[in-house]
């Protein structure tokens, strides 16, 4: 039995290591091999070649692999923008829902609402993607004006992504709040604190490490989310800070490029590995920061 369990653990670790090695190895191809493209499209005969540098990759503001422009910032900013919008929706609403469920709802309401919330988490993201494109975008365009908001835009993708993440944020925060012992609530009430004061001053601070964990996992989820942004945010890189503009995210770009014909070791092929590796780094960094914050703010109750 121990052997089987060891194999299970080993397999998942081995897979992770394998993914990191292949991802890192392939992504290096972009930088240590000469990249060649045919100027003027695939039919043209003239061939341009050049080298991508890591410096250009991380600081450049133009991403046009066909012209050997490998600045990843437009994709990174678009990812950051959609994630930020998503968090503006998911964090306050998710935390509010969690506080309601854990502190205010009667047991029967909680028993009904929590499963519904968890069903919401099970909706396929492609459904959310079309919801963003065919509902959220038209609504935004009607409200803010057809000229302000483009058909494909980061705002609608971000808002819907926030709705998608909301159950995760709410459910994890609710678990953290419910884990706070009742004795702390009673202690606070016994000192003449109202329910709201007890919630804000005692229960939420006591659950803060769990809430931060929920936050970090939600951000990671937003950064890694693919389908919604691929469908609704736009299908070409755009270095912009206007949320109502189209702009392709890192994941959106990877999924679009990898869908087409991309021969091994071609420019497109190598470039998406580099993006994926950077994405991996971002989520890894987020998880490390999250872990640090969780231990930093941990208030052990007993």
């Amino acid at each position: 039995m121990g052997g089987i369990l060891f194999f299970c653990g080993f397999l998942s670790i081995f897979t992770t290591i394998g993914v990191v090695v292949i991802l890192g190895n392939q992504s290096l191809h972009l930088f240590n091999r000469e990249q060649c493209v045919q100027a003027g499209g695939a039919t043209a005969e003239e061939v341009f070649c050049g080298h991508a540098t890591i410096g250009e990759f991380l600081t450049g503001t133009e991403w046009v692999p066909d012209q050997l422009k490998f600045g990843v910032l437009p994709l990174v900013f678009s990812t950051a923008m959609t994630s930020l919008i998503a968090m503006f929706v998911a964090v306050p609403l998710g935390l509010g829902a969690a506080i309601y469920l854990s502190e205010y709802a009667t047991p029967s309401i909680r028993k009904t609402l929590k499963p519904i919330l968890e069903v919401l988490a099970g909706i396929p993201t492609v459904v959310y993607g079309y919801f963003a494109l065919t509902f959220m975008s038209p609504v935004l365009r009607d409200v803010l004006g057809q000229d302000t908001v483009r058909t494909f835009n980061m705002a609608s993708a971000g808002l819907v992504m926030g709705i998608m993440i909301l159950p995760l944020m709410a459910s994890m925060s609710e678990d953290a709040l419910s884990a706070v012992p009742r004795s702390l609530r009673e202690g606070s009430a016994g000192l003449g604190a109202t329910k709201l004061e007890t919630t804000i001053r005692v229960v939420v601070p006591a659950a803060i490490s769990g809430i931060i964990a929920a936050l970090i996992i939600s951000i990671s989820r937003a950064v890694g989310e693919t389908m919604i942004v691929a469908i609704a945010a736009g299908a070409s890189p755009n270095f912009t800070f206007v949320p109502f503009d189209y702009a392709e995210t890192m994941t959106g770009h990877v999924v679009r490029i990898s869908g087409g014909e991309n021969p091994y070791d071609s420019v497109g092929y190598n470039s998406i590995f580099a993006i994926a590796f950077l994405l991996f780094f971002i989520t890894l960094a987020l998880n490390i920061v999250g872990r640090y914050l969780v231990t930093r703010f941990r208030e052990v109750y007993e």
Partner: protein, 259 residues
């Protein structure tokens, strides 16, 4: 008994959890600046009764109280009374020490801050005064920024007492405050209760009859009746309860024949 002598007066108090009547028809008086002990076997409703004295039972879904509980001539269960305000004036110390996972200073300053006191100097004052009254100041004055949870069990309980008296309640309810403590820590809390008695009225629930005999002025003995509901069997001066009780059930209990 004149109005000014009692801190709390229960008149035909009945406490229900849903359909179940946990406490039946209790009438008693808690005298000012005295220590009143509630004793009785497990499940006799003494904690429930205590928690009704500051409307703590309101927090339990389905709990309901009938009858009157007078505090300064006002029925605390009248619909015009705010339970939060009641708990500001009738403080509580719990069975298990439950300091907040915050610094010692913040634990004591919590109540005053909730009441709107913001000035640092005033809070500093209250924190020091309360910790001194709770006989904890000398042990913690150099580590006020440390978490309250780093203290020993007895210190934590004294921190909870300091936290409770920081809001200057008139009555202090203590629900088996020593049951989680060792004998030396218990003794310190008992000494403390005697000191606090000068300024506060104290009601204590205890499992420990020796403790009731040692610290209290009045003792209420409770037992469950045939419907498993708690009843007040006898209420009198502590000395009388332990030496010459009127009811044979009280005598059986205090002499250790059951319970």
């Amino acid at each position: 008994m004149g109005n000014s002598n009692y801190a709390l007066q229960a008149k035909n108090l009945n406490i229900y959890y849903g359909e179940f009547r946990a406490v039946t028809d209790v009438s008693m008086v808690v005298e000012r600046h005295k220590i009143t002990a509630l004793i009785g076997p497990s499940g006799c409703g003494k904690s429930t009764l205590l928690r009704s004295f500051n409307r703590m039972n309101d927090l339990v879904p389905g709990a309901r109280v009938e009858g009157e509980l007078l505090f300064q001539d006002q029925n605390l269960y009248s619909p015009f009374v705010d339970a939060v305000e009641v708990r500001r004036r009738i403080g509580m110390v719990f069975q298990k020490p439950n300091p907040f996972p915050k610094p010692i200073y913040e634990n004591v300053a919590f109540g005053p801050k909730v009441q709107g006191i913001r000035k640092k100097s005033q809070l500093d004052d209250i924190v020091e005064r309360s910790l001194r009254k709770a006989a904890l100041w000398d042990e913690v004055k150099d580590k006020l920024k440390k978490s309250g949870l780093e203290l020993s069990g007895g210190q934590q309980q004294r921190l909870c007492i300091a936290r409770a008296i920081a809001v200057e309640p008139e009555v202090l309810l203590m629900d088996e405050p020593c049951s989680a403590l060792d004998p030396i820590a218990t003794l310190r809390i008992e000494e403390l209760m005697r000191e606090l008695q000068e300024q506060y009225t104290i009601v204590i629930v205890t499992h420990n009859m020796q403790q009731a005999a040692r610290v209290s002025d009045y003792t209420a003995f409770m037992m469950v009746n045939d419907k498993r509901s708690g009843e007040l069997v006898e209420f009198d001066m502590t000395e009388k309860i332990f030496t010459n009780p009127a009811d044979t059930r009280t005598e059986d209990y205090v002499t250790g024949r059951f319970g």
